[in-house]
C-alpha cells in the first residue's frame, strides 16, 4: 500500500518584520522602541502527500510557497501547526532526516563557486557516506539523464546558468533522497533547459519512486510534471487537486501584445479586454479567450498597422487572482 510521506497539519508561519517611517525622528524613535508588523506568510495549511507523488506547489511571488518548502526541509521553525516528513519533524534537523531528503533552491549552492563541480560531488559522496560503487552507479545514471560529464571539470563559475542548475540538481540527488523539495528548479532557464529539467525529474521519479514537491511560478513546469497541484495565495491554501479540474476552473486566456506603427488612437477594446502591462510599456495588451486567439490576431493583423505582435500566457498571478478572488 502507498504510504503518506508528507503530512502537514495547520502549518503556519508569521514573520515579525521591523517597521518604521522614514526620516531622522523616526530613526531615533525606532532605536529605542522598535515596532513590528506581523506578516502572515503561511496560515493554517493542511495537506498530505503520498509516496511517489509529484506535486506542484503553485502561487505568485510572496504567496508562501518557499516558506512552506523551507519549513518542510527543516530550515524554518513554524509558528504553529505540525509537519511530518518520512516520520521526522523536519526542523529538528535530525541527521537521518537530512540524509533522506534534498532541498534544491535556485542557485543556492551545493557547489563551491570557484572550483570544478567534480570536487563538490566527491565532497557530497563523503558527507552522505556513499560507498564508491553506489556513488558511481548513481553518478552514471545522473550523467545519462543530464549529460554532466562535459561540465564536471570546469570551475562552476564558468558554467552557464542552465549548466549550473543541472549540476546543482545532480549534486542534490547523489544520495538518492526519498523526498525532493525543489524551489523553482527551472528559474532563469531557456525553454529547452526547462524542458530538459522537467524531463529529467519525470524520469527520476519513475525510476526511484521518490516523492517530489516543487514550487514554480511557471504554469508549464507544473502542467508538464504534476498530476496534482496545490495552490497557495496570501499564505492560504486555495486549491488542492488534479490539474484537469483546475484547468476547468480557470478559463483559459491568452495575452496578445501589439506594437503599433503610429499614433495610439486605436481602440483595442473591440478585439478584447485591454490590460496593463508595466514591464513592457511599448506594447498594448489585450486579453482574449484562448479559443479566439487565431481569429482575433488575424483580424488585428489585417486591420491595424502592427509592427510586432506577441501571444503569451497571462502571468500566473493574474490567473490565480481571477480564479480565486472573484
Amino acid at each position: 500500500m502507498s504510504q503518506e510521506t508528507i503530512i502537514v497539519e495547520n502549518l503556519s508561519k508569521t514573520y515579525q518584520v521591523p517597521e518604521r517611517e522614514g526620516g531622522f525622528g523616526a530613526a531615533v524613535k525606532s532605536f529605542f522602541k522598535r515596532t513590528y508588523t506581523d506578516v502572515k506568510a503561511v496560515q493554517q495549511v493542511n495537506f498530505r502527500i503520498t509516496q511517489g507523488e509529484v506535486v506542484g506547489f503553485l502561487g505568485p511571488n510572496g504567496a508562501g510557497k518557499t516558506t512552506t518548502l523551507k519549513m518542510l526541509a527543516g530550515l524554518l521553525h513554524p509558528t504553529g501547526g505540525t509537519a511530518n516528513v518520512l516520520g521526522f519533524t523536519p526542523w529538528q534537523l535530525k541527521t537521518d532526516y537530512l540524509r533522506s531528503m534534498t532541498l534544491v533552491m535556485g542557485q543556492r549552492n551545493r557547489l563551491a563557486w570557484d572550483i570544478p563541480a567534480a570536487d563538490s560531488f566527491l565532497l557530497a559522496q563523503a558527507i552522505y557516506r556513499l560507498p564508491d560503487d553506489e556513488y558511481k552507479k548513481t553518478y552514471k545514471e545522473l550523467d545519462e539523464l543530464l549529460e554532466l560529464e562535459p561540465l564536471m571539470k570546469k570551475p562552476v563559475r564558468n558554467l552557464s546558468l542552465g549548466e549550473r542548475m543541472k549540476c546543482e540538481i545532480a549534486a542534490g540527488l547523489l544520495h538518492r533522497p526519498k523526498v525532493l523539495f525543489l524551489d523553482e528548479p527551472t528559474i532563469g532557464l531557456d525553454i529547452t533547459g526547462q524542458a530538459r529539467i522537467r524531463e529529467f525529474l519525470r524520469e527520476y521519479n519513475k525510476r526511484t519512486g521518490a516523492t517530489i514537491l516543487l514550487t514554480s511560478h511557471y504554469m508549464a513546469d507544473v502542467t508538464a510534471l504534476c498530476e496534482r497541484i496545490i495552490i497557495i495565495h496570501h499564505g492560504q491554501l486555495k486549491y488542492d487537486g488534479s490539474i484537469t479540474d483546475l484547468s476547468r476552473r480557470i478559463a483559459p486566456f491568452k495575452l496578445i501584445g501589439v506594437q503599433l506603427g503610429y499614433s495610439n488612437g486605436h481602440d483595442l477594446s473591440r478585439y478584447g479586454e485591454p490590460v496593463q502591462n508595466e514591464e513592457d510599456a511599448e506594447k498594448h495588451y489585450i486579453q482574449v479567450k484562448a479559443e479566439d486567439v487565431t481569429r482575433v490576431t488575424s483580424r488585428m493583423l489585417s486591420e491595424l498597422p502592427i509592427h510586432d505582435i506577441t501571444i503569451a500566457d497571462p502571468p500566473i498571478e493574474d490567473v490565480i487572482e481571477r480564479a480565486f478572488n472573484e
Partner: protein, 265 residues
C-alpha cells in the same frame, strides 16, 4: 568522518588557492602592527636600558614568537561565517547532515592558515635576520609544552568566535559585535604589548580570561617564564574555558538555528 574532512580540505584548499593574492595582502596587513611594535619598543628599551625590566631583546623575542603563535591560534570564523547567515547561503549547508561550523568553517580556517603559512615563513626568516633575536631562554621543554597550549588556545578561541558569529542568527549583522570582541582580545591577549606592561588590575583580569590563551600563555611557555605551578594553573584555566565555551557554543548554536529565518534564498 576522516573522509569528510579530507574532501572538505580539497575543496577549501582549492578555493584558497584561487584567492592566494588576497591572502598575501591580508598577511602583509596582519604583519604591520607587530613589526611597528618591535621597532618602537626596541628603540625605547635601547634608549632606557630596559622598560619595566624588559630589554630590547625581550621585545624582539616576544613579537617574533607572537607572530608564530598567533599564526596558529587565530581564526577568521567571524569573517567566514557571518556573511553566510546574512546572505542566506548557510541554508545550503544546514540541510546537509554535517555541522556547518565544526566541519566546513573549521577546515576553511585551517586552509586559510596553511595558505598564509606559505607567505609567512620567508617573511619571518627575513624579520629574524633583521632584528637578530637571541632565543637563549627558549628550550625544547618550553616549546613542547607550548604545542598543547597552542592547540587549546586555538580550540577555545575558535569556539568563542563561533559563538560570537552565531549572534548573526539574531542580529544578521555582527560586525560591530566583532569590533567589540576584537577590542577585548587586543586588550587582554597580549596582542599589542606583553601583558606585564599593563596595569596590575588589567593583568589580573587578563589572567582569568580566555584571550591570553591565544597569545600570552603560549609565548610565556616558549620563553620558559613560568614556574611549574603557574604552568599547571594556566592549563587548568584553559581547560575550564574549554568546557565553558563548548557549552556556550552548543547553546548559542541551537537557539540560533531555531531563529534562522533563511534570509534571501
Amino acid at each position: 568522518m576522516l573522509k569528510i574532512f579530507q574532501r572538505l580540505w580539497i575543496v577549501n584548499w582549492a578555493e584558497q588557492w584561487q584567492y592566494r593574492a588576497n591572502s598575501l595582502m591580508y598577511l602583509l596587513y596582519w604583519l604591520v602592527s607587530p613589526i611597528v611594535h618591535v621597532a618602537v619598543w626596541t628603540s625605547i628599551a635601547n634608549a632606557n636600558g630596559s622598560v619595566n625590566g624588559l630589554t630590547a631583546n625581550d621585545f624582539v623575542n616576544y613579537y617574533l614568537l607572537l607572530l608564530i603563535v598567533d599564526q596558529f591560534t587565530s581564526n577568521i570564523t567571524i569573517h567566514i561565517f557571518a556573511y553566510k547567515v546574512q546572505d542566506g547561503s548557510l541554508s545550503g549547508e544546514l540541510v546537509k547532515p554535517i555541522h556547518p561550523m565544526l566541519t566546513n568553517t573549521l577546515i576553511t580556517n585551517i586552509a586559510f592558515k596553511t595558505m598564509m603559512l606559505i607567505g609567512f615563513v620567508p617573511v619571518w626568516i627575513f624579520l629574524a635576520v633583521i632584528f637578530k633575536p637571541d632565543f637563549a631562554s627558549v628550550t625544547w621543554q618550553g616549546v613542547l609544552l607550548a604545542v598543547p597550549a597552542i592547540l587549546l588556545g586555538f580550540i577555545v578561541n575558535f569556539l568563542l568566535s563561533g559563538a560570537v558569529s552565531s549572534i548573526a542568527f539574531w542580529t544578521t549583522r555582527v560586525y560591530s559585535i566583532n569590533e567589540f570582541y576584537f577590542a577585548l582580545f587586543v586588550l587582554f591577549s597580549g596582542q599589542f604589548v606583553p601583558l606585564q606592561l599593563m596595569p596590575k588590575t588589567i593583568q589580573a583580569i587578563a589572567h582569568y580570561l580566555p584571550f591570553q590563551l591565544q597569545i600570552y600563555f603560549p609565548i610565556q611557555l616558549i620563553q620558559n617564564k613560568l614556574s611549574p605551578a603557574e604552568i599547571l594553573q594556566g592549563f587548568l584555566i584553559g581547560f575550564i574555558w574549554l568546557g565553558v565555551v563548548i557549552l556556550l557554543f552548543k547553546w548559542v548554536w541551537r537557539e540560533g538555528v531555531k531563529r534562522f529565518s533563511a534570509v534571501g534564498a
